[in-house]
Symmetry: D2
Subunit: 275 residues, 4 copies
Amino acid sequence: MQKLAERNWGMWLGTNCQLDFELEVPTPLVLMLRPRSGAFQWVARESYTLAPHVPVEEYTDIFGNLCQRLVTRVGNFTIATSAEVMTPECFDFGWGAPFVNVQFLPDSVLTFLLPSRYCESDRFGDLAQEIVGGCLPGYNQVAAIASWVRSRVPYVPGSSFMPISALEVKDQGQGVCRDLAHLAIALCRSISIPARLVVGYLQGLTPMDLHAWFEAYVGGRWYTFDPTQEENFGGRVAIAYGRDAADVSIFHQFGPGIRLSNMQVSVALLQKPSA
Amino acid sequence: MQKLAERNWGMWLGTNCQLDFELEVPTPLVLMLRPRSGAFQWVARESYTLAPHVPVEEYTDIFGNLCQRLVTRVGNFTIATSAEVMTPECFDFGWGAPFVNVQFLPDSVLTFLLPSRYCESDRFGDLAQEIVGGCLPGYNQVAAIASWVRSRVPYVPGSSFMPISALEVKDQGQGVCRDLAHLAIALCRSISIPARLVVGYLQGLTPMDLHAWFEAYVGGRWYTFDPTQEENFGGRVAIAYGRDAADVSIFHQFGPGIRLSNMQVSVALLQKPSA
Amino acid sequence: MQKLAERNWGMWLGTNCQLDFELEVPTPLVLMLRPRSGAFQWVARESYTLAPHVPVEEYTDIFGNLCQRLVTRVGNFTIATSAEVMTPECFDFGWGAPFVNVQFLPDSVLTFLLPSRYCESDRFGDLAQEIVGGCLPGYNQVAAIASWVRSRVPYVPGSSFMPISALEVKDQGQGVCRDLAHLAIALCRSISIPARLVVGYLQGLTPMDLHAWFEAYVGGRWYTFDPTQEENFGGRVAIAYGRDAADVSIFHQFGPGIRLSNMQVSVALLQKPSA
Amino acid sequence: MQKLAERNWGMWLGTNCQLDFELEVPTPLVLMLRPRSGAFQWVARESYTLAPHVPVEEYTDIFGNLCQRLVTRVGNFTIATSAEVMTPECFDFGWGAPFVNVQFLPDSVLTFLLPSRYCESDRFGDLAQEIVGGCLPGYNQVAAIASWVRSRVPYVPGSSFMPISALEVKDQGQGVCRDLAHLAIALCRSISIPARLVVGYLQGLTPMDLHAWFEAYVGGRWYTFDPTQEENFGGRVAIAYGRDAADVSIFHQFGPGIRLSNMQVSVALLQKPSA
């Protein structure tokens, strides 16, 4: 909590996400749409409604995300969520924060060193070494990786729907926010720096949508990096954490008969939480 | 999820709990005031505000409760929470649900067989045997215990502030809701029936306050029992689960300089969640 | 525990695994070499020695595996483990065990539905549908997948060292035990059947080595399948479970300066555990 | 792992514990007899046999202990365990290690601040303040508590079988190792210092038996204290950790028809683990 006390908590964000589905058959869904209060953000107000209302269960996954399980009915189905969240005005920089030798990493962080579905870190060692050559081991290496991805792989919002893997992103040479994050994560892990994907809201994103970025573990803590944004502008609300997009899916459907007909996302700066 | 589908989910409750503190020195608090969505209730809308706002962290304890940690400032400090929750209209009965032999209990349930701070189940074997004599092992035994407590230990709201233990409750011969639940839990565990304390809201409680009841594990699931209520009336919103009041404290303060000057609780029946 | 009581527990296996390393620089290792007692096997005797002895820590990962962390010294380094384990004489068959709809899967099983590093289940839907066409949903589908892999992808022990992914295995048309398991797992998950990789010992394997197979969740429990073995012969000792080989690595090294100079594995049938 | 590297790991202990039971009816047992490798000890060799062998399951409880569940048969039943464990030659002292304010404790440590079945820390505030008056907050306070218990409450091995609580220990004025540990733990928690019970082996204990001591969390780590031993002599092997004896029971029986007819414990200093 020490860091909490020192942190600037002055910013309130109001977030909204609405998903409209059309369903031909009842379909099981697993959702991750509920931001958690934690060390970095405080959810002061929240709503989460289903229309029509169906039975829904919530559980916590292995990464600590709150997940909702339900079975939709045939017809139109709408999920509407909103939240008012206190968050730091910008993320912390950690220039010079040192590389943590594997033997000193917390047990729970080790899983974020392993290759995963969309981050084939076992195939990126040479490229990563080339990118970080000469950097101080740790934060500066991750910053070099984020910067390399930002400059070499154009961020093209809306350019893909299905997740593709870091190797495919590199070949394709462009991608959505998730793709760029996957590539950066694979590069970090290939030099033994733990990295994880974050899905959430970014204030001021254009066009507005859900966003994905990543965190890397250096200097004894997680730091935020965004390979799609030139500057550290805007507050962020994290919804879910995982190894990559396979773990962190805003909605995961099981079965073919479902169509997302509309999705609306908004983020507003609030003076304070509503009374 | 099978039970979910069959359950009556028709009731929406709006809950409020406000705590006003006066503080002479900054004091660490651990709070459990955030109801979780789960298998038995759905939190559609929620607010949780601190005035003045201070940094706060949330974590999940070993029983799955969402806990908030913070350090108050000197002066007045108010915590206000509200929620709109869908919940069954009344709890399930399970007459005849059988006793589960210890070897067939899920691992995670075993901890609720052990004696705990306020439930000295290692001292209640004889009394429990006497109470349940002749009952079908399982649900009917628990119902006999709840009924025995209800008839022998008058429920006197407001009669104690500090938790006392089941042995002390038996000697004292009366108690608050928490005391009666502790006594019933100790009796259940002494005959190898897992039992746990629940703290939450009960619609229609007079006088209105936070409430405590218990659950017992028979017939392969948890069933609700309330040793203070003659009839199964009113919806319930669970806030926290634990072995006894030592695990489940709405607010747990560390240090002397804090005074709860006011506490207000309300539960309202809603037509539907607010728009 | 019900199944335990009915299970044939008559077989004792003695297992040995020795790893000899040559190290140019001190290197962090994470090991998974300690079989756990659980519902399916009982470890009656075990040894685990390091020569030279170095400080080592053990922790439990998110899949319940016991993992050992250490930093080797320069020079020769040997890890020797042995165990005497009671295990069923052969694994259970479950012909007809039904498919479990996603909404009825336990929360903890959901993670084994997701694509993972070496099991790109998001790319195998069409092939899987073709393979299982006409099968009763559930166990019989998994058996058809295991059989298809066994007949179409020759098992060539020693043909690869680095893990390759299910897509690569399919292209390559042959593989080691791990490769065939990855392909089968990807096919299962693509039709919403949870599947996980198991690494362990198989009595009678030729040539003797550590082995990999998989389990699928149908009919309310995990069943064992082995796409490399024509018949269900021989007892098995599981060492570790995971989504794929990225999670389950007998030894995971961090850094370049390490060479496995020798590895010896043996499995013997015992009359009883040694006195 | 940093402390590991610096720690003296020179001592090997060989431990044995044999329990002989006589059973009139089949009885479920939960056992904690398997020491875990962890940050402070390495189990190089271990055996755990049941005679007659019965099906047994192992699981990990909420405190990380490995627990074994089984149902005994009628007649004689013997459990024999042995281990060869590398352990520090003596425990660390931490004179001057500071009190950790509650807001800076790790989440997982908070549970060890709460009152528990045999440690009614909510009733010991005044006595604790009196004992620690004038001590530097932290390690020195705990040492004062351990010393006070040692000098005021004579350690009488074998003086009780059933656990009694800290309040009862204080009244009774003497106790077994577990009783003295409970009293010290209650005193520590009452001044907001987390404390937990440890059950294990102590080399050189007279008369030889299983032993209980406690750990307190100060200066950012757990430190070992033993209110029954005048000097820090002898190596220790921890078997299980918990809030008090209710969590940590070497064997926990459910039902009346079981008699422990014999128990034998030994601890030997080894030159090295057996080949």
